[in-house]
């Protein structure tokens, strides 16, 4: 068992902790300011707010695509600003991300896309082939495993992106508008998948505008407005 997992069981360290965090793109004014919150291990949160409030930007700080301009971001109890560059890949493998713009690899089949994180983690295909097929069937892509992403509908692409994000059983799942392109029954199905993962120990953070989804899930909500947390901060 990883030491982090022990801590996780002890409930000692938050999985994500922001303290006085700000971020900016280049020399532009701050997109996020004074962000402070924490996600306990095994928690399930939504983050919402108007378009342009900075939800995707906040997620970028967590999945290590951007660095804060001020304040500290901690993942699994470690301040990311002092994590050595060579340890970053291992940290990223513990984070599953569903990007708002999906970002599938267009030259790879549905099956290859879904299996990508396992492959990057150097797992043996023989050990995961069955799991990947099962997961794809679960998100309703069981008949499209050969297909290329370009031939999928918007909702199908989104479900593939979800499969890829969860296939490696990440410690944190970040989902940026994961139900933006699917109908309500499918949204509820996806929500059930997230709840299931969460039950298995994955910490979940979902950025969404979907009030219905949030109402249905009844989970704590972080609210961002104009780059500041107006609800759910610490």
């Amino acid at each position: 068992m990883r030491p982090e997992a022990l801590l996780l069981e002890a409930g000692a360290e938050p999985v994500v902790r922001f303290d006085g965090v700000a971020m900016r793109y280049g020399r532009a004014p701050e997109t996020l300011s004074d962000i402070a919150f924490s996600l306990a291990p095994g928690s399930f949160h939504f983050i919402t707010g108007p378009s342009g409030a900075g939800k995707s930007s906040l997620l970028k700080l967590i999945y290590l695509a951007h660095r804060p301009s001020r304040g500290s971001v901690e993942l699994f109890g470690r301040d990311v600003s002092v994590v050595a560059e060579r340890d970053m890949p291992m940290l990223r493998r513990r984070i599953g991300v569903i990007f708002q713009d999906v970002r599938l690899l267009e030259h790879l089949s549905v099956f290859d896309n879904a299996a990508l994180p396992l492959r990057i983690a150097n797992r043996k295909p023989a050990a995961y082939r069955g799991d990947v097929a099962e997961l794809l069937a679960w998100v309703g892509l069981g008949e499209r495993m050969h297909a290329l992403p370009a031939t999928l509908s918007g909702g199908e692409k989104q479900r593939l992106a979800i499969a890829r994000a969860v296939v490696g059983r990440p410690d944190i799942l970040l989902a940026d508008e994961p139900t933006g392109n699917v109908d309500h029954p499918m949204a509820l199905r996806i929500l059930r998948l997230f709840v299931e993962l969460n039950r298995l120990g994955t910490t979940v953070l979902i950025a969404t505008h979907d009030e219905e989804l949030m109402a249905h899930a009844r989970r704590p909500v972080l609210r961002l407005e104009g780059g500041r947390l107006t609800e759910g901060g610490s």
Binding site: L64, A65, R92, P117, A133, E143, M145
Partner: protein
Amino acid sequence: MSLDPQRWKPGPLLPAADARDGALVFVVAVLCFLSVLAAIGALAAGRAAEGWSQALSGTATVLVRPRGDQTSDAAAAAAAEALAGVRGVTLARALAGAEATALLEPWLGKDALPPDLPVPRLVAVDLDRARPATADAMTQALRQAQVDASVDDHSLWLEDVQRAAGLARWAAVGVAALVALAAAAVTVLATRAALAARREVLEVLHLSGARPGMIAGLFERRFALMGAAAGLFGGGAAAMIALSARLAGGSGGISPVTPVAWADALAAVPAPLAAGLVAALAARLAALNLLRSMSGA
């Protein structure tokens, strides 16, 4: 259609080559072609320069003036005999009177020379190329044999010719080096552009936790192969031209001015290696650079 997971084999992490890669290979191939041609030109220029100075340094000319009591023929024969004994002379041959007159003809005309004019005689001397006799040694031998003669070992000319030859050689080497540098620079630029077009792939792999070295390695291998292929096409085409020039031009190459040798085609050998290396290195650095920019500034 559904898939049998048991038979699934992972697909390639990088997209297959596309039209952009074709353009990259073409541009690099053309530049390799020009580089190798320039290198072959430099080799030929060097050989031509060598030829000029060798042709001059391997010979000397001795002008013999008959003394009052001597016929021209006797004086020339005496000079040739004296010179033949000098160390570093391989052959000394008195030119016959007719040959000497023939040499003057272009200046004086065919029938302008009275038959009894005492034309100075020439002795053509071939020198040992490894250790040629000096003009001083030859002059001394002639004096000892009491022949009135002056020795021209072409040293005056030789210096000029050698200077010109050196210049030609360096100019050719300079041109070849410049073309090779341009080829490398364009390879770097084209590689970067081709890589930037794959940015999304790179980013997804990166954010999924792939190590920078692994991602860079993917691109490195891909571009090394493309560079090597381009070098092979371009260098190969230039080598073919060199070989056909040698074939068509006989032992003189295209012409005595650019004597191409069979072995010059070997100048193409480094092209695939160099192009492959430059492209691989450029791809690696560009990939690592892009990845650094993706970790957020």
